[in-house]
């Protein structure tokens, strides 16, 4: 399969008057065409900032891309001017956000917000755009799509609003959809519907999806491959099934084990001690070392590389030897 998106050594930070806080600290990953890639992490892991960096939507925050490449179909998006980038947003690369209650403009009718993006990126006239908007709304399972065009966002439920946002963002057939916690604000029964919808859309259109979430259960439902982020870095990358069956990085392990599982009758949960490190006070060496159960002396001093072998891709010294051994065997 061809690579749709390739992110190389992306660093994003927030500059204030005297220094820079790096939120995304040099990440590399790629997305293949038609793939659903999960990015999972806790708050402060930099997963949302990664998404905003790809979209180049960091302006409103004081954040900016410090270095790295975001190659989309061979074009480095970080090198584009703002004006060129606007032609990509909504047409080639689209994004769905977490809060369906606030992502739509409360004083504009749904129809106006739907048509706006279609008129901007296609050759359709107003009437055709209207028709296309209605069809897209219907395709995401919105009943009474025609009426809803004339309604305001607050007249719809959260689940319906999220469907509208999805419709809006796929109406120009983008090749890449970034979904940033699209179901976090929804109830589980509605979450299930939206996840199914996203999967169906993906199958139908063949677009690539980057699915950002903190919920490992959701990852397990929808993603083909997963990147686990911790403190601005990707610490592990694996096929979804492998990740849950054979997690490698101690953080991934800890994360999976700390979730209560239905029907397991657990007495206690295993948990990761301590808290996520502060941006302005990152631990030396491996950023996870203060919380790690397998910590070694070396972890406090050196920053681990990202080891990649046939079945391991993980940023942890535990796999240093294994990787080396593999190397020597070859």
């Amino acid at each position: 399969m061809a690579k749709l998106l390739e992110v190389n050594n992306l660093q994003t930070g927030f500059k204030n008057s005297n220094d820079t806080l790096k939120v995304v600290r040099g990440i590399d990953f790629h997305l293949e065409e038609g793939e659903i890639l999960g990015i999972v992490g806790e708050s402060g892991s930099g997963k949302s900032v990664t998404a905003l960096s790809i979209m180049r939507l960091l302006h409103d925050t004081p954040g900016e891309i410090l270095s790295g490449e975001v190659n989309y179909k061979g074009t480095d998006l970080t090198k584009l001017t703002e004006k060129q980038m606007r032609k990509y947003r909504g047409k080639e690369v689209s994004m769905i956000f977490q809060e369906p209650m606030t992502t739509l403009n409360p004083v504009l009718k749904i129809g106006r917000q739907m048509k706006e993006v279609i008129l901007l990126h296609t050759e359709l006239n107003r009437k055709q755009a209207h028709q296309h908007a209605v069809e897209t709304l219907e395709s995401v399972g919105i009943p009474r799509a025609k009426d809803i065009m004339n309604e305001y966002p607050h007249q719809l439920s959260g689940g319906m609003r999220q469907r509208v946002v999805i419709a809006m963002q796929i109406s120009c057939n983008p090749s890449l959809l970034i979904a940033d916690e699209p179901t976090t604000a929804l109830d589980v029964t509605i979450q299930k519907q939206i996840l199914k919808l996203l999967k169906d859309i993906q199958k139908k259109t063949g677009m690539g999806i980057i699915f950002i979430t903190h919920d490992l259960g959701v990852v397990s439902k929808i993603c083909d491959r997963v990147n686990v982020m911790y403190a601005g870095e990707i610490v592990e990358s694996a096929e979804t099934r492998d990740l849950f069956n054979h997690p490698k990085h101690p953080y991934t392990k800890g994360l999976i084990e700390s979730i209560p599982k239905l029907g397991h009758n657990q007495e206690r949960l295993s948990s990761i001690p301590g808290t996520v490190p502060n941006l302005n006070d990152m631990p030396k060496g491996c950023t996870f070392s203060p919380r790690c159960n397998f910590v070694m002396d070396r972890c406090h001093a050196e920053h681990p590389d990202f080891y990649e072998t046939d079945n391991i891709s993980c940023r942890c010294f535990l796999y240093d030897q294994i990787a080396e051994e593999r190397m020597s065997h070859v």
Binding site: G90, E99, L120, H154
Partner: protein, 300 residues
């Protein structure tokens, strides 16, 4: 529905204004009759003013008078108060209207400019203008611009309401403060709107800066600005008294000050009621506009 809400307020306000004549120190009947009137003359004045009747009955007489436009008679000139006011009301309305229009337009423009160029020089200049505008005593501004533009340069008449030129300087002095308040408020409201999630959505769709500001943010920001404009209208009415005095403008404000100097209570009473009614009316209209701009109000 909203009109229904308004009625109790109008009744209370009219009652407060009605009571006004009863709270003032001294005997209004004696005032009407004159300082050296006889006892009989004072009693006659008392019954002309209906002051010999029970309070509630007086109020009803007063109110029924109001409905037919009978506001009593001026102590100073003996003319009907309604007549005196109707002579003066048009220039005043013209002045307030001119002021609010230029203040809103310029204020919003400055606000929009400041918000879109946040923390850059247009913003800093705009906000410096705005905070100065709020802090300027309008009577002083009036005096200074008369001195410069009328006396020194001779561009505008020093006072009166004879031609359209004579409206320019008073409406400038009167509108400056409101313009500043509207500018500040538009800016903060627009800055707030530009931080909202739906702005990010708009940008994620590939919209340009113009569509974002004018197509998405502005309508949301207008909602609070409209309310503030309505509330500031009171500021404008109050200011008109001062500014009219400075420019010897033949409006309701100068009438009020003259009447206070002559203790012409029927006129004062009528004017205060009129000012209150104007203010209530404007805010009522603002309420209705608000409903149109904000879809949530319309449907909830």
């Amino acid at each position: 529905m909203r009109i229904l809400n308004l009625i109790p307020l109008l009744i209370i306000v009219s009652f407060v204004v009605f009571m006004f004549v009863h709270i003032i120190p001294g005997d209004p009947a004696r005032l009407l009759a004159g300082q050296d009137a006889t006892r009989e003359e004072v009693e006659l004045a008392r019954s002309v003013l209906n002051l010999d009747k029970p309070l509630l009955q007086q109020y009803f007489i007063y109110m029924s008078g109001l409905f037919v436009g009978d506001l009593g008679f001026s102590i100073k000139s003996g003319a009907s108060v309604a007549q005196i006011i109707s002579d003066r009301i048009l220039p005043s309305l013209g002045l307030t209207f001119a002021s609010i229009v230029w203040a809103t337009v310029v204020g919003m423009l400055i606000g929009i400019l400041s918000a879109t160029f946040r923390n850059r020089w247009p913003d800093q200049l705009g906000m410096l203008t705005a905070i100065s505008g709020i802090s300027l005593p309008n009577f002083w501004v009036g005096l200074v611009i008369i001195q410069i533009f009328s006396v020194q340069l001779g561009w505008f008449p020093t006072g009166g309401a004879g031609s359209w030129q004579s409206y320019i300087m008073p409406s400038f002095a009167l509108g400056a403060g409101i313009m500043a308040i509207i500018a500040r408020f538009t800016r903060s409201s627009l800055v707030e709107s530009l931080k909202q999630d739906y702005i990010r959505t708009g940008r994620s769709k590939g919209l340009g800066k113009g569509s974002i500001v004018f197509g998405h943010a502005l309508k949301n920001s207008l909602i609070p600005v409209i309310t503030v404009t309505g509330l500031q209208f009171g500021f404008l009415l109050g200011g008109s008294v001062v500014v009219e005095t400075v420019f010897s403008f033949p409006g309701l404000g100068t009438l009020l000050i003259d009447s206070i100097q002559f203790r012409d209570y029927p006129v004062i009473q009528a004017l205060i009621l009129l000012f209150a009614l104007q203010f209530i009316l404007v805010n009522f209209i603002v309420d209705i506009i608000y409903g149109f701009v904000n879809p949530k109000i319309r449907y909830d």
